[in-house]
């Protein structure tokens, strides 16, 4: 099969109208908001050295915050504000998706516009300012009829830089729930689907390039006072924006949104749920790549309708419990706690995906390590790797406390790369997932946890409050609980981790459905 006839290109292209439309939407809104804020600020501050310094300083500081972190910060910030407005004014808003992404990107877009507006206005020939005053203009008339038009080419250059930054950074808004071209990149990275990663990168680069070219045309037109250039550039931008936005507005809003966290198993399960809902004649789409804490809040706020979480994760991280009841009791109690928040725990899927400390079997045998108790003695000479959240999760603290673990070094890694890294000896131990197919493939051993420091992690189906009494949805999901055992899930995950045409989440989900006896 040739590179270009790979069916994954077509799979990727199917999502393009949605992803591209959402990407343009959030970029445009952010840019507009950024402009509305930074233009007046720059105009007000242009003649005061102190406020100019403060403004540019603050904007520069924002610029030094990595884009992903800035986006991630806006989510809890808005969540806190939403809970305050709920308490004080009786309403709240969604801290998920569009709003935090737009605000963070708007903040990110401000520096070039601020800097160029100030530079442009301050660079005007003083003789012209005097002429404007001399012919009888008020300061405001001078600003709008002389200074801003003359500074416009420089301001446009700033807007162009901002636009390119925003379009690039918008790819990072996927984890906080804003659909963007970043969905390709995040999904591709998680499922080792390099076709998707490439598709996302190329699409966002082309978008940025096109916008850059059109804005350059406008800027040149303004600078050289050529109406034709300005007009062509404006028409180009207008056509581009309309063409990308029309499909996303014309598209029927999907009634059910299925959430997925940032790893392959979640992509497969969300695809499975999506397929089940569609098979039942319901409109459904997925919202993938959501952060672990974001996704639960999104469900509680009805921003997504259904997703799969893990009992232990909710128990420890969401409800801050330190007791470790046995599997069945934990599930029952969790169901009650969730019900208080109107969240329905529809059922357990049948397998656990627990955190487990994992090392190559040969190495474990050689060192005589078969449980975490054995490991503790060797830990000071070993290097451990975990996913991005593991070392800040309570499970890790509980493990350290129960066994007195202290490793030489700990390192964070993309979950997909951990298994190969431990198999090849680049790291000694990893905090892996028990449902991971590559544990078997690489002949890795999961170390026993005799002190039960890690709680059980049943995969559970959760429904949003507004779906608590949705019979159609519950009927469509009925075939799933208690049907997926650990061996099946491992095999599905192994398939999803491959990088061939049959390893897309949708393809694996179809396989999984057949495997568990669906028609």
């Amino acid at each position: 099969m040739s590179f270009l006839s790979d069916p994954r290109w077509r799979d990727a292209a199917v999502h393009l109208p949605d992803y591209l439309g959402s990407h343009v939407q959030v970029s445009l809104a952010a840019l507009a908001l950024g402009l509305v804020i930074s233009l007046p600020l720059a105009i007000l501050a242009r003649n005061h050295a102190v406020s100019r310094g403060i403004l540019l300083g603050l904007a520069s500081v924002v610029q030094t915050v990595p884009g992903l972190a800035l986006l991630a910060l806006f989510y809890p910030l808005l969540l806190a504000i939403a809970s305050l407005t709920l308490r004080w004014f009786g309403f709240d808003f969604s801290a998920f998706g569009f709003l935090p992404a737009m605000l963070a990107l708007a903040l990110y877009s401000m520096l070039p516009v601020l800097r160029n507006t100030i530079t442009g206005l301050n660079g005007i020939d003083p003789a012209l300012l005097e002429a404007a005053q001399g012919v009888g203009m008020t300061p405001r008339q001078s600003l709008f009829t002389v200074e801003l038009p003359l500074a416009l080419p420089v301001i446009m250059a700033g807007i162009r830089t901002s636009a390119v930054w925003v379009i690039g950074t918008a790819t990072l808004s996927t984890p906080i729930g804003q659909t963007s071209l970043g969905n390709y990149i995040f999904a591709g990275l998680q499922t080792q689907n390099w076709v998707l990663v490439l598709f996302g990168c190329v699409a966002s680069a082309l978008l940025a390039l096109a916008v850059d070219q059109f804005l350059t045309l406008i800027e040149r037109g303004l600078r050289e006072r050529k109406r034709l250039h300005t007009m062509l550039g404006s028409v180009g931008i207008a056509v581009l924006v309309t063409a990308t936005l029309i499909p996303s507005t014309a598209r029927a809003p999907s009634t059910y949104v299925v959430g997925a966290k940032t790893f392959a198993e979640q992509y497969v399960l969300s695809a499975l749920i999506e397929q089940r809902l569609q098979a039942a004649g319901l409109q459904a789409s997925t919202r993938e790549g959501l952060g672990s804490s974001v996704i639960f809040q999104a469900l509680a706020a009805n921003n997504i309708d259904v997703y799969v979480d893990y009992s232990g994760t909710l128990w420890v991280n969401q409800f801050h419990r330190t007791d470790k009841p046995p599997r069945e009791r934990l599930l029952a109690e969790l169901k009650e706690i969730l019900a208080k928040q109107d969240i329905t725990l529809l059922g357990a899927l049948g397998f656990e995906n627990a955190y487990a400390l994992v090392m190559p079997r040969q190495r474990a045998d050689a060192l005589g390590i078969h449980s975490i108790t054995d490991l503790a003695a060797h830990a000071p000479t070993l290097l451990i790797a975990g996913d991005y959240e593991f070392f800040s999760r309570p499970e890790w603290a509980a493990l350290q406390k129960a066994y007195g673990l202290s490793f030489r070094t700990q390192r964070q890694m993309q979950p997909d790369f951990m298994y190969a890294a431990v198999a090849s000896g680049d790291v000694d131990v990893i905090a892996g997932y028990t449902s991971e197919g590559r544990i078997k493939e690489y002949d890795l051993e999961t170390l026993a946890d005799p002190k039960h420091a890690i709680p059980p992690y049943d995969a559970v189906l959760l429904l949003a409050p507004r779906r608590a009494h949705d019979a159609a949805l519950q009927e469509a999901l009925k075939p799933l609980p208690e049907r997926i055992d650990i061996a099946t899930m491992r095999e599905a995950n192994l398939r999803a981790s491959g990088s061939n045409a049959n390893s897309s989440p949708a393809a694996v989900a179809r396989w999984l459905w057949q495997r568990i006896g669906g028609q």
């Binding site: 012209l128 005097e130 002429a131 005053q133 001399g134 012919v135 009888g136 203009m137 008020t138 006072r225």
Partner: protein, 266 residues
């Protein structure tokens, strides 16, 4: 003359921060000067003599530290400076045209600020283009950078005249032009000054131009008016600086006379 002067400076003083130390630089030092209605006054001096500052004080582009300036009988500090400027024409050194506006829009600036109806503004623009001898069809819709220096300065004069001011302030209006253009424009402007019964204050460092165009000349040096009067009165003045300023045009005139006499004799 029994008439009250149209512009009257009385003991006017103006100083500036010199930027780096606490000392202030005095630009205009206790100047008293009257300009009569219909008069063409030239203020002559070297750069830094305070002549441009004196001009800017008349339409409140600058405010005096002390002293009084009356324009048409009113103290400039007691009227809205924006309105004051709209009723005085101002011609800037090398045009001061707005580079992003077409010639017609540059000329129309002040009438539009005053809220004239569009048709009246358009008619006035055409009238002015004719007045300053610019071709309507050729120049009306051009941008300033597409014009020659002389044409730009004609537009500058038209813009200053647009709202029918009684008073024209001109800051080195023809300084950046080639001699022939400068001469033509100067003569044409002098004709306009008479025809429209304007009162003109022109700042220049060129004594020859001042002598040829103005009714009266005020000579400034180091912030003070050291001499004033009609050309003939100036030549009787015994201030050495005035004599120095007059020496160049005198020498040029004598030499020209000699050359032209020689030519006709030969």
């Amino acid at each position: 003359m029994a008439l009250a002067p149209l512009i009257a400076y009385a003991h006017v003083r103006k100083s500036f921060d010199n930027g780096h130390d606490a000392e202030r630089v005095t630009a205009v030092d206790d100047v008293s000067l009257d300009i009569a209605a219909g008069e063409f006054l030239a203020i002559v001096g070297a750069s830094g003599s305070g002549k441009s500052t004196l001009l800017r004080l008349a339409n409140r582009l600058l405010a005096p530290d002390s002293g009084r300036i009356l324009v048409e009988g009113g103290d400039v500090r007691e009227v809205d400076p924006v309105r004051l400027r709209r009723r005085m024409g101002y011609v800037f050194q090398s045009g001061g045209l707005f580079p992003h506006m077409r010639v017609a829009d540059n000329i129309a600036v002040t009438p539009r600020l005053l809220g004239w109806p569009a048709a009246e503004v358009a008619a006035r623009v055409d009238e002015l283009l004719e007045l300053v001898r610019l071709d309507r069809s050729l120049h009306r819709d051009r941008l300033p950078h597409e014009l020659s220096g002389g044409q730009q300065q004609r537009v500058g004069v038209a813009r200053a005249l647009a709202a029918r001011p009684r008073i024209m302030l001109m800051d080195e209006p023809f300084g950046a032009l080639d001699p022939l253009t400068r001469d033509n424009l100067g003569e044409e402007y002098r004709a306009l000054h008479r025809r429209l019964a304007l009162t003109t204050v022109m700042v220049t460092h060129d004594m020859t131009a001042a002598l040829l165009l103005a009714d009266r000349i005020a000579v400034m040096r180091a912030g003070r008016v050291v001499a004033q009067g009609q050309p003939a009165e100036l030549s009787d003045n015994n201030e050495p600086y005035v004599a120095e300023l007059l020496s160049t045009p005198r020498r040029q005139a004598e030499r020209l006379n000699a050359l032209l006499a020689g030519a006709s004799a030969g």
